[in-house]
Protein backbone atom coordinates (compact mmCIF):
# COMPACT_ATOMS: atom_id res chain seq x y z
CA UNK A 1 0.00 0.00 0.00
CA UNK A 2 2.65 2.50 1.06
CA UNK A 3 4.67 1.71 -2.10
CA UNK A 4 1.87 2.90 -4.36
CA UNK A 5 1.29 6.00 -2.20
CA UNK A 6 5.01 6.69 -2.25
CA UNK A 7 5.19 6.20 -6.02
CA UNK A 8 2.28 8.61 -6.42
CA UNK A 9 4.03 11.22 -4.27
CA UNK A 10 7.24 10.79 -6.30
CA UNK A 11 5.36 11.16 -9.59
CA UNK A 12 3.43 14.29 -8.54
CA UNK A 13 6.39 16.02 -6.87
CA UNK A 14 8.80 15.20 -9.73
CA UNK A 15 6.24 16.40 -12.28
CA UNK A 16 5.90 19.75 -10.53
CA UNK A 17 9.67 20.19 -10.35
CA UNK A 18 10.17 19.21 -13.99
CA UNK A 19 7.44 21.59 -15.08
CA UNK A 20 9.14 24.37 -13.14
CA UNK A 21 12.48 23.51 -14.80
CA UNK A 22 11.00 23.39 -18.31
CA UNK A 23 9.14 26.68 -17.87
CA UNK A 24 12.19 28.42 -16.43
CA UNK A 25 15.12 29.85 -18.36
CA UNK A 26 17.95 28.26 -16.37
CA UNK A 27 18.15 24.97 -18.23
CA UNK A 28 18.03 26.60 -21.67
CA UNK A 29 20.61 29.22 -20.75
CA UNK A 30 22.91 26.47 -19.44
CA UNK A 31 22.37 24.41 -22.60
CA UNK A 32 23.18 27.39 -24.83
CA UNK A 33 26.45 27.97 -22.95
CA UNK A 34 27.27 24.26 -23.00
CA UNK A 35 26.64 23.92 -26.76
CA UNK A 36 28.77 26.99 -27.46
CA UNK A 37 31.55 25.58 -25.29
CA UNK A 38 31.34 22.18 -26.94
CA UNK A 39 31.33 23.85 -30.40
CA UNK A 40 34.48 25.71 -29.47
CA UNK A 41 36.01 22.47 -28.15
CA UNK A 42 34.91 20.65 -31.31
CA UNK A 43 36.52 23.14 -33.70
CA UNK A 44 39.65 23.86 -31.69
CA UNK A 45 40.47 20.57 -30.16
CA UNK A 46 39.24 17.97 -32.63
CA UNK A 47 39.13 19.55 -36.09
CA UNK A 48 42.00 22.06 -35.84
CA UNK A 49 44.42 19.69 -34.18
CA UNK A 50 43.51 16.98 -36.70
CA UNK A 51 44.10 19.39 -39.59
CA UNK A 52 47.37 20.64 -38.08
CA UNK A 53 48.56 17.06 -37.69
CA UNK A 54 47.46 16.17 -41.20
CA UNK A 55 45.09 13.51 -39.88
CA UNK A 56 42.48 12.50 -42.43
CA UNK A 57 40.32 10.24 -40.29
CA UNK A 58 38.95 10.85 -36.76
CA UNK A 59 37.77 7.98 -34.58
CA UNK A 60 34.83 9.70 -32.86
CA UNK A 61 34.47 13.11 -34.50
CA UNK A 62 30.97 13.89 -33.17
CA UNK A 63 30.71 11.56 -30.21
CA UNK A 64 33.51 13.25 -28.28
CA UNK A 65 32.10 16.80 -28.36
CA UNK A 66 28.66 15.32 -27.82
CA UNK A 67 29.88 13.77 -24.65
CA UNK A 68 31.76 16.81 -23.63
CA UNK A 69 28.46 18.75 -23.68
CA UNK A 70 26.47 15.96 -22.08
CA UNK A 71 29.08 15.71 -19.30
CA UNK A 72 28.80 19.46 -18.70
CA UNK A 73 25.02 19.22 -18.68
CA UNK A 74 25.18 16.38 -16.16
CA UNK A 75 27.43 18.54 -13.98
CA UNK A 76 24.96 21.42 -14.30
CA UNK A 77 22.14 19.11 -13.21
CA UNK A 78 24.34 17.89 -10.33
CA UNK A 79 24.68 21.51 -9.27
CA UNK A 80 20.89 21.95 -9.52
CA UNK A 81 20.49 18.83 -7.36
CA UNK A 82 22.91 20.27 -4.83
CA UNK A 83 20.63 23.29 -4.58
CA UNK A 84 17.35 21.43 -4.54
CA UNK A 85 16.93 20.25 -0.93
CA UNK A 86 18.68 23.20 0.70
CA UNK A 87 16.56 25.62 -1.36
CA UNK A 88 13.33 23.91 -0.23
CA UNK A 89 14.60 23.96 3.34
CA UNK A 90 15.63 27.63 3.06
CA UNK A 91 12.27 28.65 1.62
CA UNK A 92 10.26 26.54 4.07
CA UNK A 93 8.42 24.69 1.28
CA UNK A 94 10.04 21.46 2.47
CA UNK A 95 8.08 21.62 5.73
CA UNK A 96 4.77 22.23 3.93
CA UNK A 97 5.31 19.17 1.73
CA UNK A 98 5.82 17.03 4.79
CA UNK A 99 2.51 18.15 6.29
CA UNK A 100 1.01 15.99 3.57
CA UNK A 101 1.51 12.48 2.19
CA UNK A 102 5.21 12.89 1.42
CA UNK A 103 7.98 11.09 3.30
CA UNK A 104 11.76 11.29 3.11
CA UNK A 105 12.15 8.55 0.51
CA UNK A 106 9.44 9.86 -1.79
CA UNK A 107 10.74 13.43 -1.46
CA UNK A 108 14.34 12.54 -2.32
CA UNK A 109 13.29 10.15 -5.08
CA UNK A 110 11.21 12.94 -6.62
CA UNK A 111 14.30 15.16 -6.56
CA UNK A 112 16.35 12.40 -8.19
CA UNK A 113 13.88 11.56 -10.95
CA UNK A 114 13.19 15.21 -11.66
CA UNK A 115 16.85 15.77 -12.52
CA UNK A 116 17.07 12.52 -14.48
CA UNK A 117 14.00 13.49 -16.53
CA UNK A 118 15.51 16.94 -17.06
CA UNK A 119 18.57 15.14 -18.39
CA UNK A 120 16.43 13.22 -20.90
CA UNK A 121 15.27 16.62 -22.18
CA UNK A 122 18.92 17.73 -22.34
CA UNK A 123 19.78 14.59 -24.31
CA UNK A 124 17.02 15.32 -26.80
CA UNK A 125 18.36 18.85 -27.35
CA UNK A 126 21.93 17.54 -27.58
CA UNK A 127 21.00 14.89 -30.14
CA UNK A 128 19.24 17.48 -32.31
CA UNK A 129 22.15 19.92 -31.95
CA UNK A 130 24.77 17.36 -32.92
CA UNK A 131 22.65 15.86 -35.65
CA UNK A 132 22.52 19.31 -37.27
CA UNK A 133 26.30 19.63 -36.83
CA UNK A 134 26.70 16.21 -38.39
CA UNK A 135 24.62 17.26 -41.39
CA UNK A 136 26.56 20.52 -41.79
CA UNK A 137 30.04 19.02 -41.40
CA UNK A 138 29.29 15.66 -42.98
CA UNK A 139 30.96 13.99 -40.00
CA UNK A 140 28.99 10.97 -38.85
CA UNK A 141 28.12 9.36 -35.55
CA UNK A 142 29.85 6.09 -34.80
CA UNK A 143 28.30 2.86 -33.53
CA UNK A 144 29.67 3.65 -30.03
CA UNK A 145 27.19 6.49 -29.81
CA UNK A 146 24.39 4.36 -28.33
CA UNK A 147 26.79 3.02 -25.69
CA UNK A 148 27.71 6.59 -24.75
CA UNK A 149 24.07 7.56 -24.66
CA UNK A 150 23.22 4.87 -22.10
CA UNK A 151 26.37 5.66 -20.16
CA UNK A 152 25.42 9.33 -19.94
CA UNK A 153 22.23 8.44 -18.06
CA UNK A 154 24.27 6.54 -15.49
CA UNK A 155 26.79 9.36 -15.20
CA UNK A 156 23.95 11.78 -14.58
CA UNK A 157 22.51 9.45 -11.97
CA UNK A 158 25.88 9.56 -10.15
CA UNK A 159 26.09 13.34 -10.47
CA UNK A 160 22.54 13.91 -9.31
CA UNK A 161 22.80 11.57 -6.31
CA UNK A 162 26.11 13.27 -5.42
CA UNK A 163 24.39 16.69 -5.66
CA UNK A 164 21.42 15.55 -3.57
CA UNK A 165 23.76 14.13 -0.95
CA UNK A 166 25.57 17.48 -0.65
CA UNK A 167 22.27 19.31 -0.55
CA UNK A 168 21.09 17.12 2.33
CA UNK A 169 24.22 17.58 4.40
CA UNK A 170 24.36 21.37 3.95
CA UNK A 171 21.71 23.68 5.39
CA UNK A 172 22.03 26.73 3.17
CA UNK A 173 21.88 27.10 -0.61
CA UNK A 174 25.18 28.95 -0.79
CA UNK A 175 26.94 26.24 1.22
CA UNK A 176 25.52 23.59 -1.14
CA UNK A 177 26.79 25.41 -4.25
CA UNK A 178 30.22 26.00 -2.77
CA UNK A 179 30.53 22.39 -1.59
CA UNK A 180 29.50 21.02 -4.99
CA UNK A 181 31.75 23.26 -7.06
CA UNK A 182 34.70 22.85 -4.71
CA UNK A 183 34.45 19.06 -4.73
CA UNK A 184 33.97 18.77 -8.51
CA UNK A 185 36.95 21.06 -9.09
CA UNK A 186 38.96 19.08 -6.55
CA UNK A 187 38.09 15.77 -8.28
CA UNK A 188 38.99 17.21 -11.69
CA UNK A 189 42.18 18.80 -10.39
CA UNK A 190 43.21 15.63 -8.66
CA UNK A 191 42.57 13.56 -11.77
CA UNK A 192 44.71 15.94 -13.85
CA UNK A 193 47.45 15.95 -11.18
CA UNK A 194 47.40 12.16 -11.08
CA UNK A 195 47.73 11.90 -14.86
CA UNK A 196 50.65 14.35 -14.88
CA UNK A 197 52.45 12.69 -11.97
CA UNK A 198 51.99 9.21 -13.40
CA UNK A 199 53.31 10.30 -16.80
CA UNK A 200 56.59 11.58 -15.34
CA UNK A 201 59.53 9.28 -16.05
CA UNK A 202 60.25 7.29 -12.88
CA UNK A 203 64.02 7.01 -13.29
CA UNK A 204 64.61 10.80 -13.08
CA UNK A 205 62.58 11.18 -9.87
CA UNK A 206 63.99 11.96 -6.44
CA UNK A 207 62.98 9.54 -3.63
CA UNK A 208 60.61 12.20 -2.26
CA UNK A 209 58.83 12.54 -5.63
CA UNK A 210 58.55 8.76 -5.91
CA UNK A 211 56.98 8.72 -2.45
CA UNK A 212 54.54 11.51 -3.44
CA UNK A 213 53.68 9.63 -6.62
CA UNK A 214 52.85 6.48 -4.64
CA UNK A 215 50.65 8.45 -2.26
CA UNK A 216 48.82 10.20 -5.12
CA UNK A 217 48.34 6.89 -6.91
CA UNK A 218 46.91 5.28 -3.78
CA UNK A 219 44.66 8.27 -3.19
CA UNK A 220 43.54 8.03 -6.79
CA UNK A 221 42.40 4.43 -6.28
CA UNK A 222 40.17 5.66 -3.45
CA UNK A 223 39.05 8.70 -5.45
CA UNK A 224 38.01 6.42 -8.30
CA UNK A 225 35.08 5.29 -6.13
CA UNK A 226 34.23 8.62 -4.53
CA UNK A 227 34.24 10.96 -7.51
CA UNK A 228 31.14 10.75 -9.71
CA UNK A 229 33.27 11.84 -12.68
CA UNK A 230 35.47 8.76 -12.50
CA UNK A 231 32.48 6.47 -13.18
CA UNK A 232 32.00 8.28 -16.44
CA UNK A 233 35.65 8.11 -17.46
CA UNK A 234 35.77 4.36 -16.70
CA UNK A 235 32.68 3.80 -18.83
CA UNK A 236 34.07 5.93 -21.67
CA UNK A 237 37.32 4.02 -21.65
CA UNK A 238 35.35 0.77 -21.81
CA UNK A 239 33.41 2.03 -24.83
CA UNK A 240 36.58 3.14 -26.62
CA UNK A 241 38.23 -0.19 -25.85
CA UNK A 242 35.03 -2.00 -26.89
CA UNK A 243 35.23 -3.93 -23.62
CA UNK A 244 31.64 -4.92 -22.91
CA UNK A 245 32.46 -6.49 -19.53
CA UNK A 246 34.10 -3.30 -18.26
CA UNK A 247 31.26 -1.27 -19.72
CA UNK A 248 28.62 -3.36 -17.89
CA UNK A 249 30.72 -3.19 -14.72
CA UNK A 250 30.91 0.59 -14.95
CA UNK A 251 27.13 0.82 -15.36
CA UNK A 252 26.66 -1.52 -12.40
CA UNK A 253 29.10 0.40 -10.21
CA UNK A 254 27.25 3.63 -11.13
CA UNK A 255 24.03 2.07 -9.88
CA UNK A 256 25.74 0.97 -6.65
CA UNK A 257 27.27 4.44 -6.20
CA UNK A 258 23.86 6.06 -6.72
CA UNK A 259 22.23 3.59 -4.32
CA UNK A 260 24.80 4.17 -1.58
CA UNK A 261 24.64 7.97 -1.85
CA UNK A 262 20.85 7.88 -1.97
CA UNK A 263 20.65 5.68 1.15
CA UNK A 264 23.09 7.96 2.96
CA UNK A 265 21.04 10.98 1.92
CA UNK A 266 17.85 9.37 3.27
CA UNK A 267 19.52 8.49 6.59
CA UNK A 268 21.05 11.97 7.05
CA UNK A 269 17.84 13.70 5.98
CA UNK A 270 15.85 11.70 8.55
CA UNK A 271 18.36 12.65 11.22
CA UNK A 272 18.39 16.35 10.31
CA UNK A 273 14.64 16.66 9.85
CA UNK A 274 12.72 18.99 7.59
CA UNK A 275 12.67 22.19 9.63
CA UNK A 276 14.68 25.27 8.67
Amino acid sequence: MSISFRAHAVRVAAKRELRSTLYGVGLYAALAVIFLASGYFFVNSSIRSALDAGVLALQNPITEPFFFSVGLAATYLGLCSALSVSRDRDQGTLEVLFYGPVDTISYLMAKFFHQLLAFVVVLAFAIVNFYVISLITNLGFTADFVGFLVLSLFLTSCMVSFGIFLSVITRRMMASVIAFLALVLFFLGFSVAHTIVMSLPGESMTPLLVYVRVIIDNMNSVMQWISPLSYFSRGMTAVFMKDFGQYALSLFSSVVYTGILFSLSVAIFKKKGVRR
Binding site: V12, R16, S20, G24, T93, E95, F98, G100, P101
Partner: protein, 315 residues
Amino acid sequence: MIETKDLTKRYGDFTAVSNLSLRVEKGEIYGFLGPNGAGKTTTIMMLLGILKPTEGSVQLFGESLDNDYFNIKRRIGVLSENQYFYEDLTAKEYLKFFGELYKVENVERRIDEVMGLVNLAKRKNELLKGYSKGMKQKLGLARALLHDPDVLILDEPVSSLDPYGIKEVRDILMEENRKGKTMFISSHILSEIERTCHRVGIMNRGQLLAEDSMSELKRRLMDEVQLFVELEEATDTILKSLKSLPFVVSLDVTHNQLMLKTAADKDYRGQLSSAITQAGGVVIDLRRHEMSLEEAFVTITEKNLSLLTKEGPAA
Protein backbone atom coordinates in the same frame (compact mmCIF):
# COMPACT_ATOMS: atom_id res chain seq x y z
CA MET B 1 -8.81 11.49 17.05
CA ILE B 2 -5.61 12.98 18.49
CA GLU B 3 -3.95 11.48 21.52
CA THR B 4 -0.52 12.02 23.02
CA LYS B 5 0.93 10.07 25.91
CA ASP B 6 3.83 11.43 27.95
CA LEU B 7 5.07 13.28 24.90
CA THR B 8 8.48 14.78 25.57
CA LYS B 9 10.96 16.66 23.41
CA ARG B 10 14.39 17.53 24.68
CA TYR B 11 17.17 19.46 22.97
CA GLY B 12 20.22 18.67 25.06
CA ASP B 13 19.49 20.00 28.55
CA PHE B 14 16.50 22.03 27.39
CA THR B 15 13.08 20.39 27.60
CA ALA B 16 10.74 21.95 25.04
CA VAL B 17 7.79 19.69 25.85
CA SER B 18 7.50 17.59 28.98
CA ASN B 19 5.24 14.56 29.50
CA LEU B 20 2.36 15.98 27.51
CA SER B 21 -0.73 13.81 27.60
CA LEU B 22 -3.79 15.13 25.84
CA ARG B 23 -6.75 13.79 23.95
CA VAL B 24 -8.91 15.49 21.34
CA GLU B 25 -12.24 13.82 20.66
CA LYS B 26 -14.00 13.51 17.31
CA GLY B 27 -15.85 16.68 16.32
CA GLU B 28 -14.17 18.74 19.00
CA ILE B 29 -12.45 22.10 18.58
CA TYR B 30 -9.48 22.08 20.90
CA GLY B 31 -7.67 25.34 21.63
CA PHE B 32 -4.00 24.98 22.38
CA LEU B 33 -2.69 28.02 24.22
CA GLY B 34 0.54 29.17 25.71
CA PRO B 35 2.97 32.09 25.69
CA ASN B 36 5.82 32.21 23.16
CA GLY B 37 8.25 29.37 23.75
CA ALA B 38 5.69 27.30 25.68
CA GLY B 39 6.18 24.33 23.33
CA LYS B 40 3.04 24.65 21.19
CA THR B 41 4.68 24.52 17.77
CA THR B 42 7.06 21.77 18.93
CA THR B 43 3.98 19.77 19.97
CA ILE B 44 2.30 20.36 16.60
CA MET B 45 5.45 19.29 14.78
CA MET B 46 5.52 16.08 16.82
CA LEU B 47 1.84 15.45 16.05
CA LEU B 48 2.69 15.72 12.35
CA GLY B 49 5.74 13.46 12.61
CA ILE B 50 8.02 16.31 11.53
CA LEU B 51 9.85 16.23 14.86
CA LYS B 52 10.58 12.93 16.53
CA PRO B 53 9.63 12.85 20.22
CA THR B 54 12.40 12.10 22.70
CA GLU B 55 9.88 10.07 24.68
CA GLY B 56 6.19 9.29 24.54
CA SER B 57 3.82 8.62 21.70
CA VAL B 58 1.34 10.26 19.33
CA GLN B 59 -1.73 8.58 17.94
CA LEU B 60 -3.92 10.00 15.22
CA PHE B 61 -7.19 8.20 14.46
CA GLY B 62 -6.05 5.56 16.94
CA GLU B 63 -2.92 4.74 14.91
CA SER B 64 0.71 5.71 15.13
CA LEU B 65 2.07 7.59 12.10
CA ASP B 66 4.73 4.89 11.76
CA ASN B 67 2.03 2.29 11.11
CA ASP B 68 0.03 4.04 8.40
CA TYR B 69 1.92 7.20 7.45
CA PHE B 70 0.37 8.00 4.07
CA ASN B 71 -3.25 7.24 4.98
CA ILE B 72 -3.07 9.26 8.18
CA LYS B 73 -1.43 12.21 6.40
CA ARG B 74 -4.21 12.19 3.81
CA ARG B 75 -6.77 12.68 6.59
CA ILE B 76 -5.09 15.73 8.11
CA GLY B 77 -5.17 19.33 6.92
CA VAL B 78 -2.47 21.63 8.25
CA LEU B 79 -2.11 25.38 8.31
CA SER B 80 1.21 26.50 9.73
CA GLU B 81 2.06 29.75 11.43
CA ASN B 82 4.40 30.83 8.62
CA GLN B 83 3.21 30.49 5.07
CA TYR B 84 5.65 29.02 2.56
CA PHE B 85 4.74 28.87 -1.10
CA TYR B 86 6.20 28.20 -4.53
CA GLU B 87 6.13 31.82 -5.58
CA ASP B 88 6.49 31.03 -9.28
CA LEU B 89 3.07 29.35 -9.30
CA THR B 90 -0.40 30.82 -9.45
CA ALA B 91 -2.77 30.01 -6.58
CA LYS B 92 -4.64 27.60 -8.83
CA GLU B 93 -1.46 25.79 -9.90
CA TYR B 94 -0.35 25.61 -6.28
CA LEU B 95 -3.62 24.07 -5.14
CA LYS B 96 -3.66 21.75 -8.15
CA PHE B 97 -0.28 20.39 -7.13
CA PHE B 98 -1.51 19.65 -3.61
CA GLY B 99 -4.79 18.34 -4.99
CA GLU B 100 -2.88 15.80 -7.07
CA LEU B 101 -0.65 14.94 -4.12
CA TYR B 102 -3.70 14.21 -1.96
CA LYS B 103 -5.50 12.49 -4.88
CA VAL B 104 -8.44 14.90 -4.72
CA GLU B 105 -11.23 13.94 -7.11
CA ASN B 106 -12.57 16.65 -9.44
CA VAL B 107 -9.68 18.80 -8.36
CA GLU B 108 -10.57 21.80 -10.56
CA ARG B 109 -14.06 22.00 -9.08
CA ARG B 110 -12.74 21.56 -5.56
CA ILE B 111 -10.17 24.34 -6.12
CA ASP B 112 -12.99 26.67 -7.15
CA GLU B 113 -14.92 25.66 -4.02
CA VAL B 114 -12.12 26.30 -1.53
CA MET B 115 -10.95 29.48 -3.27
CA GLY B 116 -14.55 30.71 -3.08
CA LEU B 117 -14.69 29.74 0.57
CA VAL B 118 -11.69 31.92 1.44
CA ASN B 119 -12.88 34.69 -0.86
CA LEU B 120 -9.95 34.44 -3.28
CA ALA B 121 -11.80 33.02 -6.30
CA LYS B 122 -11.08 36.11 -8.40
CA ARG B 123 -7.37 35.96 -7.61
CA LYS B 124 -6.81 32.28 -8.34
CA ASN B 125 -4.87 32.89 -11.56
CA GLU B 126 -2.46 35.39 -10.01
CA LEU B 127 1.13 34.49 -9.15
CA LEU B 128 1.68 33.84 -5.45
CA LYS B 129 4.55 36.32 -5.28
CA GLY B 130 1.92 39.05 -5.64
CA TYR B 131 -0.17 37.77 -2.72
CA SER B 132 -0.31 39.74 0.54
CA LYS B 133 0.41 38.09 3.89
CA GLY B 134 -3.29 37.82 4.70
CA MET B 135 -4.10 36.35 1.28
CA LYS B 136 -1.35 33.79 1.73
CA GLN B 137 -2.77 32.81 5.09
CA LYS B 138 -6.20 32.32 3.55
CA LEU B 139 -4.67 30.35 0.69
CA GLY B 140 -2.92 28.18 3.29
CA LEU B 141 -6.33 27.48 4.81
CA ALA B 142 -7.68 26.64 1.35
CA ARG B 143 -4.82 24.17 0.94
CA ALA B 144 -5.56 22.64 4.34
CA LEU B 145 -9.23 22.20 3.40
CA LEU B 146 -8.67 21.10 -0.20
CA HIS B 147 -8.74 17.35 0.43
CA ASP B 148 -11.62 17.58 2.91
CA PRO B 149 -9.62 16.21 5.86
CA ASP B 150 -11.14 14.74 9.03
CA VAL B 151 -8.76 16.66 11.28
CA LEU B 152 -7.49 20.22 10.91
CA ILE B 153 -4.34 21.24 12.72
CA LEU B 154 -4.05 25.01 12.66
CA ASP B 155 -1.14 26.99 14.03
CA GLU B 156 -2.09 30.66 14.41
CA PRO B 157 -4.73 30.55 11.67
CA VAL B 158 -5.72 34.22 11.89
CA SER B 159 -2.48 35.91 12.91
CA SER B 160 -2.06 37.87 9.65
CA LEU B 161 -5.69 38.71 9.04
CA ASP B 162 -7.68 41.91 9.45
CA PRO B 163 -10.95 41.81 11.44
CA TYR B 164 -12.96 40.92 8.30
CA GLY B 165 -10.55 38.12 7.49
CA ILE B 166 -10.68 36.86 11.07
CA LYS B 167 -14.48 36.69 10.93
CA GLU B 168 -14.36 34.94 7.54
CA VAL B 169 -11.95 32.31 8.83
CA ARG B 170 -13.92 31.88 12.06
CA ASP B 171 -17.12 31.30 10.07
CA ILE B 172 -15.35 28.77 7.83
CA LEU B 173 -13.96 26.88 10.81
CA MET B 174 -17.31 26.82 12.60
CA GLU B 175 -19.00 25.56 9.44
CA GLU B 176 -16.37 22.87 8.91
CA ASN B 177 -16.78 21.82 12.54
CA ARG B 178 -20.54 21.58 12.04
CA LYS B 179 -19.80 19.20 9.16
CA GLY B 180 -17.90 17.02 11.64
CA LYS B 181 -14.28 18.11 11.36
CA THR B 182 -12.10 17.87 14.45
CA MET B 183 -9.82 20.83 15.02
CA PHE B 184 -6.67 21.46 16.97
CA ILE B 185 -6.01 25.20 17.02
CA SER B 186 -3.03 26.97 18.44
CA SER B 187 -3.48 30.72 18.68
CA HIS B 188 -2.45 33.85 20.51
CA ILE B 189 -5.75 35.53 19.72
CA LEU B 190 -7.54 34.41 22.87
CA SER B 191 -10.85 36.03 21.99
CA GLU B 192 -11.00 33.79 18.90
CA ILE B 193 -10.18 30.69 20.92
CA GLU B 194 -12.86 31.65 23.43
CA ARG B 195 -15.42 32.01 20.66
CA THR B 196 -14.61 28.87 18.72
CA CYS B 197 -13.17 26.19 21.00
CA HIS B 198 -15.00 23.60 23.03
CA ARG B 199 -12.00 22.85 25.22
CA VAL B 200 -8.64 24.47 25.78
CA GLY B 201 -5.25 23.24 26.90
CA ILE B 202 -2.84 25.79 28.36
CA MET B 203 0.87 25.13 28.02
CA ASN B 204 3.68 26.92 29.83
CA ARG B 205 7.40 26.08 29.83
CA GLY B 206 6.73 22.82 28.01
CA GLN B 207 4.08 21.57 30.42
CA LEU B 208 0.34 21.34 30.08
CA LEU B 209 -0.99 23.30 33.07
CA ALA B 210 -4.69 23.22 32.41
CA GLU B 211 -7.10 21.40 30.15
CA ASP B 212 -10.85 21.81 30.34
CA SER B 213 -13.89 23.50 28.90
CA MET B 214 -13.78 27.26 29.09
CA SER B 215 -16.51 27.58 31.76
CA GLU B 216 -15.01 24.86 33.96
CA LEU B 217 -11.55 26.39 33.69
CA LYS B 218 -12.82 29.79 34.78
CA ARG B 219 -14.91 28.30 37.57
CA ARG B 220 -11.88 26.57 38.99
CA LEU B 221 -9.79 29.71 38.79
CA MET B 222 -12.26 31.92 40.57
CA ASP B 223 -12.40 31.60 44.39
CA GLU B 224 -14.67 34.66 44.52
CA VAL B 225 -17.41 35.83 42.19
CA GLN B 226 -17.92 39.47 41.25
CA LEU B 227 -21.51 40.65 40.90
CA PHE B 228 -22.58 43.97 39.42
CA VAL B 229 -25.87 45.34 40.72
CA GLU B 230 -27.64 48.48 39.55
CA LEU B 231 -30.45 49.74 41.82
CA GLU B 232 -33.11 52.37 41.34
CA GLU B 233 -31.75 53.94 44.51
CA ALA B 234 -28.99 52.67 46.84
CA THR B 235 -30.41 53.45 50.31
CA ASP B 236 -28.58 52.87 53.61
CA THR B 237 -31.15 50.20 54.54
CA ILE B 238 -30.33 48.20 51.42
CA LEU B 239 -26.56 48.54 51.88
CA LYS B 240 -26.81 47.56 55.55
CA SER B 241 -28.92 44.55 54.62
CA LEU B 242 -26.45 43.43 51.92
CA LYS B 243 -23.41 43.81 54.20
CA SER B 244 -25.09 41.59 56.77
CA LEU B 245 -25.43 38.70 54.30
CA PRO B 246 -22.91 35.96 55.23
CA PHE B 247 -21.84 35.16 51.65
CA VAL B 248 -20.97 38.78 50.76
CA VAL B 249 -17.21 39.21 51.02
CA SER B 250 -16.99 42.90 50.02
CA LEU B 251 -19.18 45.69 48.73
CA ASP B 252 -18.23 48.84 46.76
CA VAL B 253 -20.80 51.53 46.03
CA THR B 254 -20.75 54.16 43.26
CA HIS B 255 -24.03 56.12 43.26
CA ASN B 256 -26.68 53.51 42.57
CA GLN B 257 -24.22 50.90 41.23
CA LEU B 258 -22.82 48.19 43.50
CA MET B 259 -19.91 45.83 42.96
CA LEU B 260 -20.15 42.83 45.29
CA LYS B 261 -17.77 39.95 45.81
CA THR B 262 -19.32 36.71 46.99
CA ALA B 263 -18.00 33.24 47.72
CA ALA B 264 -17.72 31.09 44.57
CA ASP B 265 -19.21 27.92 46.06
CA LYS B 266 -22.65 28.65 44.53
CA ASP B 267 -24.72 31.19 42.65
CA TYR B 268 -26.05 33.77 45.17
CA ARG B 269 -27.83 36.03 42.71
CA GLY B 270 -31.30 34.86 43.75
CA GLN B 271 -30.68 35.44 47.45
CA LEU B 272 -29.14 38.81 46.72
CA SER B 273 -32.09 39.91 44.64
CA SER B 274 -34.64 38.93 47.30
CA ALA B 275 -32.57 40.62 50.06
CA ILE B 276 -32.64 43.87 48.07
CA THR B 277 -36.39 43.59 47.45
CA GLN B 278 -37.07 42.86 51.14
CA ALA B 279 -35.09 46.01 52.05
CA GLY B 280 -37.39 48.02 49.77
CA GLY B 281 -35.04 48.29 46.80
CA VAL B 282 -35.64 47.86 43.07
CA VAL B 283 -33.08 45.93 40.99
CA ILE B 284 -32.51 47.40 37.51
CA ASP B 285 -29.56 45.17 36.54
CA LEU B 286 -27.83 42.20 38.15
CA ARG B 287 -24.92 40.59 36.36
CA ARG B 288 -22.16 38.19 37.15
CA HIS B 289 -18.74 39.36 35.98
CA GLU B 290 -17.30 36.53 33.86
CA MET B 291 -13.57 35.96 33.87
CA SER B 292 -12.25 36.24 30.31
CA LEU B 293 -10.02 33.58 28.80
CA GLU B 294 -7.32 36.22 28.70
CA GLU B 295 -7.57 36.69 32.48
CA ALA B 296 -7.58 32.94 33.00
CA PHE B 297 -4.59 32.52 30.66
CA VAL B 298 -2.58 35.24 32.41
CA THR B 299 -3.45 33.86 35.85
CA ILE B 300 -2.39 30.32 34.92
CA THR B 301 0.76 31.12 32.99
CA GLU B 302 2.04 33.91 35.26
CA LYS B 303 1.72 31.76 38.36
CA ASN B 304 2.56 28.56 36.42
CA LEU B 305 -0.59 27.22 38.04
CA SER B 306 -1.38 23.57 37.39
CA LEU B 307 -5.11 22.87 37.11
CA LEU B 308 -4.77 19.34 35.87
CA THR B 309 -6.05 17.81 39.13
CA LYS B 310 -9.84 18.00 39.29
CA GLU B 311 -9.78 19.10 42.96
CA GLY B 312 -9.08 22.69 42.00
CA PRO B 313 -6.24 25.13 41.71
CA ALA B 314 -2.95 23.94 43.09
CA ALA B 315 0.26 25.84 42.72
